[in-house]
Symmetry: C2
Subunit: 360 residues, 2 copies
């Protein structure tokens, strides 16, 4: 089969890690008889430098015309990169928000998994790390405070800023369905996180998720308040299978969960639209401090490419081959610097990509 | 001196823990020559049962007329207590929001401190726990999503819910000043947490906090995004001295920080108005499952009473005497069940109160 992938290298370490993921995809293609073609698309700082905006209409159209999007990372350093002298809607991160909205990527899947081999990096104490954990956070990605109306204005001589948190039942229903569908393929537990003791949007969230749950009698639904969830992720991450939550809570909790694994360089993500289309990117950022030094860990991006094979191309076996190769590399003691520990062999970004390709 | 304290026992373990804090205050009074008089006020579930609402106007007026308020905890169990069959504005927690707004308690101070004696309870690995940490989260408490306009309505046949996140420069300035004043008495570092890459309210927050910082040249101000802060609290809590943030972010982050200490039964809080007035309560909830069993840990409430002595009554020496007595009790190996470990002596709620009184 032939697949057309829009590739967005982006800023910082983006180009390096994306190159390794493409190498892995090509190896999969050769082995399983698929062909992947790539169209490069500018986004973020690199697009500002070339076109004056973080995402052009043409770039969005190219991404839309592809079968799936592979993204490295966007962004630089506030106070250092001149991109941040621009008004907010022209900064690198605005490209990310524009592509999410423009491609209708309403479901962000963020797995947080503790690799046995990387337990030492987990910031939690051994008794917790030993138990392991394996959760997936399903974050609503095109609604809420991120895309509500906002304004800053003087009211009676006082500067006042307003953001709006808006959800309708359809937006909630489709993300809830996504979460339950994923739970059916996992341990059949959904924890829905909100702040229903304060917010109207959370009460609607609560109600709609509870309705959707009726169509999945095998799945256990639990409601959890966001402040409690922030505690439970630290106290007992093993209790979570699928977590579903709105955009801003999902931003905070998925990053917290990533850090609880201790190896954010390993964590992939998928942002899905209705149907099969999706954008795939590592959970970590552009890490400008180590860009261009062959030091970045490409595994999160490679695992994101594996998610692309599974979710957008229905290539389960191929996805599994990539995931197994990553597992094998860890077992073989090969590490980039961010996950390095005593007695392991340290390699660069490129070499890590090669080692994974060899094991496919 | 004579002080008039409004006491709100509330629900669950509230009455037990508040009784121990009063015992401690009376001991302080006797030793240092002050007299504390108490007026009991209903709030939460207990008020719903008696008066049909979680906070009556009279209760609010009594609280307002006092020199300070001591609160136990409010709330029950959703799906079990009939309070939760009521509309949101009549549920127990609505009393908490009403008293915050009614008394103008805009500054919530939540210390998160790792006691050397309770290191074993810290969920983080030893290398992190050994370094220790000692932070105070300064949460804005009367603005943002908690008190913005909200509505749920059908729009073209689709149920839609909206909450608003609003801040004006004056609200931001006064909480920022509070944070910097506190930092001046501590390690002179303020980390301001927002989501300025998305929210207008965060950008205004950022700007006003930066302005306020100019009046405190000795204090280092750092800006941190909320998602990053959720990670850093787990990764390296020792980096934080004073954290200042808006209401909802503060709710999430202060609970996360509490859990990082591993002993939420030890954590006090103060909610301050302009001037000296304040409400003092433990960081933990009403724990209905252990209510009335003499099992609760009264230390968080006792330490909250110590904060009352310091912040509302300017009785620094007296506050220190209480804090030292708590420290002594821990050194002496006395523990309630929630912080129990091998070789320690387990006591009930009442006995813990007695032991602390003996050491004042
Ligand atoms: C860069 C920022 C706007 C973005 C977000 O908040 O969604 C990032 O934190 C993420 O989680 O992808
Ligand atoms: C009970 C709830 C409304 C409250 C809040 O969110 O402020 C609580 O979580 C707190 O932090 O005091």
């Amino acid at each position: 089969m032939d697949f057309n992938i829009a590739v967005i290298p982006g800023d910082g370490i983006g180009p390096e890690i994306v190159a390794e993921a493409q190498k892995v995809l090509d190896t999969v293609g050769k082995k399983f008889g698929h062909s992947f073609s790539y169209t490069e698309v500018d986004m973020g700082g690199v697009s500002i430098d070339k076109h004056g905006v973080p995402l052009t209409d043409e770039a969005l159209a190219t991404a839309k015309a592809s079968d799936a999007v592979l993204l490295g990372a966007v962004g630089g350093v506030v106070g250092k990169d001149s991109w941040y002298d621009l008004p907010p809607h022209l900064r690198p991160e605005a490209g990310l928000l524009a592509i999410r909205k423009g491609l209708g990527l309403f479901a962000n899947l963020r797995p947080a998994y503790l690799y046995k081999e990387l337990k030492g990096a987990c910031p939690l104490k051994e008794s917790v790390a030993d138990a392991g954990f394996d959760m997936i956070i399903v974050r609503e990605l095109t609604g809420g405070l991120y895309f509500g109306e906002r304004k800053t204005e003087e009211v009676n001589g006082v500067m006042t800023a307003i953001d709006t948190l808006k959800y309708d039942e359809n937006e909630i229903r489709r993300i809830a369905i996504k979460a339950f569908e994923i739970a059916m393929k996992r341990r059949k537990s959904v924890i829905s996180v909100d702040k229903s003791n304060v917010l109207d949007s959370s009460r609607l969230w609560d109600k709609v998720v509870t309705e959707v749950a009726k169509d999945y009698p095998e799945v256990t639904l639990t409601h959890m308040l966001v402040d409690n969830c922030a505690m439970q992720l630290v106290k007992d991450p093993a209790q979570f299978d699928v977590v579903v939550t709105e955009n801003m809570f999902g931003d905070i909790l998925s990053d917290e969960a990533s850090m609880v694994t201790g190896s954010i360089g390993m964590l992939s993500s998928a942002s899905l639209a209705e149907g099969k289309f999706g954008l795939y990117e590592p959970s970590h950022g552009a890490a400008p401090d180590i860009a261009g030094q062959n030091k970045a860990n490409p595994i999160a991006t490679i695992l994101s490419a594996a998610m692309m094979l599974r979710y957008s191309f229905d290539l389960d076996e191929e996805a599994k081959a990539v995931e197994d190769a990553v597992q094998k590399v860890l077992e073989d003691g090969i590490r980039t610097i961010d996950i390095m520990s005593d007695g392991m062999q340290m390699v660069g970004c490129k070499e890590m990509g090669d080692c994974i390709c060899e094991r496919i």
